[in-house]
Point group: C2
Chain length 454, copies 2
Amino acid sequence: MPKRLLLNVFEMNCVGHITHGLWRIPGNNRHRYNDIRYWTELARTAEAGQFDAIFIADVLGAYDVYGGSAAPALREGLQIPNNDPMLVVPAMAAVTDHIGFGITFSTSYEPPFAFARRMSTLDHLTNGRVGWNVVTSYLPNAARNFGLATEIPHDTRYEIADEYLEVLYQLWEGSWEDGAVVRDAANGVYTDPDKVHPIDHVGEHFSVAGPHLSEPSLQRTPTLFLATGSPAGIARAGKHAEVVFTGGHGVQRTADAVRDAAQGAGRDRGDVKFVTQAAVITAPTQREVEDKVAQYKDFASEEGPLIHGSVPFDALSHPRNRTVRDALEAEGVDGGERLVGRVALDATVGELIDRVNEAWNGAFWAAGVPEAVTEQIEGWLDDDGIDGINLRQYHSFDTVRDFGTYVTPLLRERGRLPERYADGETLRERVTGGPARLPASHPAATYRHTSVPA
Amino acid sequence: MPKRLLLNVFEMNCVGHITHGLWRIPGNNRHRYNDIRYWTELARTAEAGQFDAIFIADVLGAYDVYGGSAAPALREGLQIPNNDPMLVVPAMAAVTDHIGFGITFSTSYEPPFAFARRMSTLDHLTNGRVGWNVVTSYLPNAARNFGLATEIPHDTRYEIADEYLEVLYQLWEGSWEDGAVVRDAANGVYTDPDKVHPIDHVGEHFSVAGPHLSEPSLQRTPTLFLATGSPAGIARAGKHAEVVFTGGHGVQRTADAVRDAAQGAGRDRGDVKFVTQAAVITAPTQREVEDKVAQYKDFASEEGPLIHGSVPFDALSHPRNRTVRDALEAEGVDGGERLVGRVALDATVGELIDRVNEAWNGAFWAAGVPEAVTEQIEGWLDDDGIDGINLRQYHSFDTVRDFGTYVTPLLRERGRLPERYADGETLRERVTGGPARLPASHPAATYRHTSVPA
């Protein structure tokens, strides 16, 4: 049986997410992100195209390394202004029946008890269509927005994240037993109190009494997404993730490493799916495709990837043939380590700019007529070891509409997408092919309450 | 001109909010609070009845004083299980055009930066239809859910609340100047960075750098509701509140005190409106009204108000003619101070139970044919000094539908409600009759950025 594609829209509650400068294309709706109808139209369009989920990124501060302030990001509309990612989900859920929602939320700054209730609420409101993209925060400005002088050190962030998950698993899986809610009107019993438990968690970073305030939702723990790259990230992803969001070349190596880690943690290698960011630009004719690509290139901002990539000096103000080392020295900036792995310090500024812009477009890029891009996508699944894509939007809503109109039918024909959505399916069932609840091999399952017989 | 009624639905994201036991009435929809269609139907019904807003209460823990544990509250479904109040708003906003939303959120436990963005997001998504009911948390269990051994002392809670508001005002009013967002596609400028400012707040309880992440919404600061009773609360309400939610008898005294405080803080006496919880039970005939009242009394839980009121001993297990003092002593409970102002310690247990149940029904209670309840409401406005009501729901959605069907048209006729909603009106415009933004006399206005001319 051909491998099924996990198909997500990649979104963020802002003007400029990753295709910098393209909000300026006439007819692009990105500047309407404040408008609830932007979100309901996006959700309907994506559901018409049989997307599995809308995956919503987030940041909690401004990019302020490039140019030494947030001014370049503000000018570009690059992830600032931005709005909360959770709050658009109920609006989209109200006008759809099937599509899922992946919400980015950081374990670094907000108390787990309130977050646990928010996700349970969303899982109830969406009938189990919600996923959580677990991230730790990395922007220095974000740390300063939450009372910290500087970003939390990498290892501490991960330690906090681990305890955060532990608290959430206890609230979601352990606090309310199955069957706790009886809704027995005749006897006046809504909940059987014997089946609801405090968690009394006392840890290094959190103390949480419980019980969880929400009754169990269809998935209890939302479908768990993790983005990863680093070795510590791979161990965590192997332990916790159901879907890993990973990028660039070398996906297969990351996937192997995460699967090894999953196996080491007592899970099945197949318990983790891999999704990558991808570009798919299509139209009925090659000519139209070329016009689109040309337009996107025309409107693309060269500065955007430099801001987003936190390049530590104002690269565009230097002659392209100057070396990066000389440019850094001229600006008196000690930021060479931020460039490691991109270019050597004796590369030219022009090479750096090109490299950053090119990296931004990513390894998974398809532009062509529907048959051609469909074949490319099949290659990604069969040869590159991925299970799905987060579709980068160049134009909202053309990118999603084009995919749904031209590519989805071909993917269905080739057995890469099901014939239709399954009614009442939770996001976990759709993504994993298993039941609505986490399997017993997942660490969250250890917190499930087992009544001790008398 | 007759005084206009502010008309809100009183809600909470749970089964049992304040009319305890009534979820058991056949046909009541309260057990559907997990279902998004509960909320969209409620919002449509309320908008059809020209309600001004849906006011959503919240708690962050379980009531666990009565009976010494959360078991009685769980059994009753009394405010537990409960879900997040904010997340139902976008679903309701997606299917309505006019009705506002008042959201209860506590300043005690969550970081202001994230909350500021959430409220701005909601103000954008609702086109300025959102209000914030500012509360400090009082449940001991809530404190333990957020890492604290016990509830924060009253005065400290208020100190934190004051600084919380200060941070929010800076983010909402001061961080982005009017005109900062230019959306100039031709020149590639989304935001003019010179008009966006960090707040660099460093205080006793919070350090927040900024800038605010969201661009300015229609209201910027959401319409501000405060519930009050205590002297410290009156001073705060006088300073900050646009609408005070107050209860019971003596509303006029509270209103006078708050208006004095407002005047002392440099605001107009009329800048604060007063809203009280009220019951309005109506039907076309007196006989139907009586049937309804009888049914509500039949299903009412006698225990509910005791749990909700944190009565410190299991009153229903004692003979009604035992004195409260003896009952407390028999249970070895030192909780007399929690009963102060309700009954004397030498009153009987029966008197305590009756008093608590009676207090629960409140001072503003109208049951009768439409003309009769309309006259009562007019009396509340003209003689009791209130400006509006939060309508207590006995039956969802009958209570709201009955009011909209039978009472709203009469209130319109008598000039107590406008003929129709004004198009595009924000909640602040509707509630205050003024502009969408806070007036210059409000303390939030002091944080507005004034560019210093060179």
